[in-house]
């Protein structure tokens, strides 16, 4: 397949890794923000091919992982109500709330449906006028254009039985939080390629300058990732802190303007709670006032349960690059993808799940 196979060329990947080895002089800690990149790195064993001076730490860019426990509990409560069809991307169904997951609610009779796109949820609402259809709208900037369009489309169709349970998170405020933390270890970033496809990379210049870190927009195939690492290492060795684009076939500086326009029409900034990390100011998006009638949290007044996290889980330290999955005593014994204790084990893109799946135990 064009635009995939050439970026998995083992010969070229090795050549770029050799160039990284020729370039690197000092030890550096580099964070890939996006869980999709974490997954690729572990899948292709890229971290094992890099020179030992380089340490990759894995960022909080997995929306399934960082969706707050309160939000999962809210989803479970809404999905369990009669006359509700609860729709979601498939990877949210296994995420444990305080008491069970969406799969267990479905097993007790709730109508929970996996959809491929938010527009599929709108269609279900059109076909079921006597039911309330709720879509679990989680995601980073990448997913926001789809979720925003579902609201615009439902409004155009005049649907009053469609709403979104929203937990949107944004990358730049999370990078701020990581770099601003007193025990930060991250010295350079691979920025998330598909987030930048939507948003461009104009937001990253001030972060690079303020914290003196290089930031390189990076794709998802093995060749993309080693290219991103090479660009970061070149900058680190030179002492520069620029924003560069190593995913130019897909990302441009301004991003996708029509998508940004719809996002700003539908959403506004809000403080957001991240599972494993806590609240990061202005790191999320919520529906603007004029679209509040599509807010499921408003439509279904759910009594908040007090959420309880496992005391063993160290997901918060992992998501900030302070620890690796195998530093956790629960990793691969009490905590597995079948029975996850916390954020980073719940989705296949979470760092713990990727380490477990690809057998990284030391």
């Amino acid at each position: 397949m064009k635009y995939i196979s050439e970026y998995r060329d083992a010969h070229l990947v090795q050549a770029v890794i050799n160039e990284i080895a020729r370039t690197v002089r000092h030890p550096w800690v580099i964070m890939e923000i996006c869980g999709g990149q974490t997954h690729s790195i572990l899948k292709y064993g890229l971290e094992q091919l890099l020179p030992e001076e380089l340490e990759l730490v894995h960022g909080p860019g997995c929306p399934v992982c960082v969706t707050s426990l309160e939000m999962i509990d809210k989803a479970l409560a809404i999905a369990a109500q009669p006359d509700v069809i609860f729709t979601s991307y498939g990877d949210m169904l296994r995420v444990p709330g305080s008491d069970g997951d969406l799969f267990s609610i479905r097993a007790s009779g709730a109508d929970i449906r996996v959809v491929y796109s938010s527009l599929d949820a709108v269609k279900i609402a059109e076909e079921n006028p006597d039911k309330q259809v709720v879509f679990f709208a989680i995601g980073f900037e990448t997913t926001a254009p789809a979720n925003a369009m579902s609201v615009i489309h439902a409004q155009k169709l005049g649907l009053n039985n469609f709403s979104l349970l929203i937990s949107h998170v944004r990358v730049p405020p999370a990078m701020h939080a990581i770099l601003g933390s007193p025990n930060n270890r991250v010295q350079g970033f691979l920025a998330a390629g598909h987030v930048c496809t939507v948003m461009g990379y104009w937001e990253y210049g001030p972060i690079a300058q303020k914290f003196r870190v290089p930031i390189v927009v990076t794709g998802f195939e093995p060749l993309d990732i080693v290219q991103g690492i090479l660009f970061v290492v070149r900058q680190l060795e030179k002492g520069s802190c620029e924003v560069e684009n190593a995913y130019a076939r897909v990302v441009c500086f301004e991003g996708n303007q029509p998508a940004q326009k719809i996002i700003s029409q539908v959403f506004e900034d809000c403080d957001q709670k991240w599972r494993g990390i806590g609240t990061i100011p202005l790191s999320g998006w919520q529906l603007k006032h004029e679209f509040m009638s599509y807010d499921a949290a408003d439509r279904f007044q759910v009594q908040m349960i007090t959420p309880t996290e496992s005391p063993l889980c160290i997901a918060g330290q992992i998501l900030r690059g302070l620890n690796k999955p195998f530093d956790c005593p629960a990793f691969a014994n009490q905590c597995t993808p079948e029975h996850p204790l916390g954020a980073t084990m719940v989705s296949s893109e979470g760092a713990c799940a990727a380490y477990y799946r690809y057998g990284r135990s030391i």
Partner: protein, 78 residues
Amino acid sequence: MCLAVPGKILDIYEADGLLMGKIDFGGVIREACLTYVPEAKVGDFTIIHVGFALNLIDEKEAMETLALLDEISKQDFT
């Protein structure tokens, strides 16, 4: 979650007021919304996430990147 897959646009049409397209993902054909890439033409490659085209793939940039990396690979033998 932010997985987005390249595909080739086979057909462009309007449905329910939305710009839609048929996309070929290496033999698997699916429908996707093209509203965010109004400049798309049949035959273009695009990158699809949860049923939406996020951008068109820039062939010139793709060739330049591969040429740059190819240059790097030649240094292995010098």
